[in-house]
Subunit: 112 residues, 2 copies
């Protein structure tokens, strides 16, 4: 079981900003996950990988793919108080789900 | 309402690693938070700030302070599959709680 979180590389987020947006996406996708899958993921150490996505379009395409695979996912838009324009898409979390299912969606992306 | 997540600056975490550890701490502290406070935080946009902590000792001291203030908090130790020694303390999440309560614990730390 793992969760993959894709963060955009093309909008110049600072490290702290990026980490907050990753956490936001992670939590949102976990909340959409069935209790049994959630428990299994937590029990196995709640593995997370953070991956690079090259733009907004990539995140939306991967979210659609996750939907088609039936994997819980969540896209985050920044509230825009700092650094970014309000509504900027920043991150996408996919899973938690079985590793091979998550890899079918995000397996081609490089680690952040 | 906000949640502050303190990440160590002294252990050379890469950006993706740091973001994953921040997400882990965030989720763990949210799970310790009472449902009403959790809902209030989410309803107001689940504000998160990521802050710099200069070492393990700082994180433990802040966790103790949060305990004394009655604020939910969670320290994360890395499983150590990559980059860090197993068991390395990486992050501390404080809250969600009212902004002024969180600031009593982490208000002196710089933004990451």
């Amino acid at each position: 079981m793992k969760q993959a979180i894709v963060a955009r590389t093309d909008i110049g987020m600072g490290t702290g900003k990026l980490a907050a947006q990753v956490a936001h996406a992670s939590l949102s996708a976990v909340e959409k996950t069935e209790k049994s899958a959630r428990s299994e993921w937590k029990g196995s150490g709640q593995k997370k990988v953070v991956l690079k996505g090259d733009g907004e379009r990539t995140l939306f395409e991967l979210a659609e793919l996750a939907d088609r695979e039936g994997i819980p996912n969540a896209i985050v838009r920044d509230a825009g108080h700092t650094q970014l324009e309000p509504g900027t898409v920043t991150t996408l979390a996919v899973g938690p789900a079985a590793d091979d299912r998550v890899d079918r969606v995000t397996g081609d992306l490089p680690l952040y």
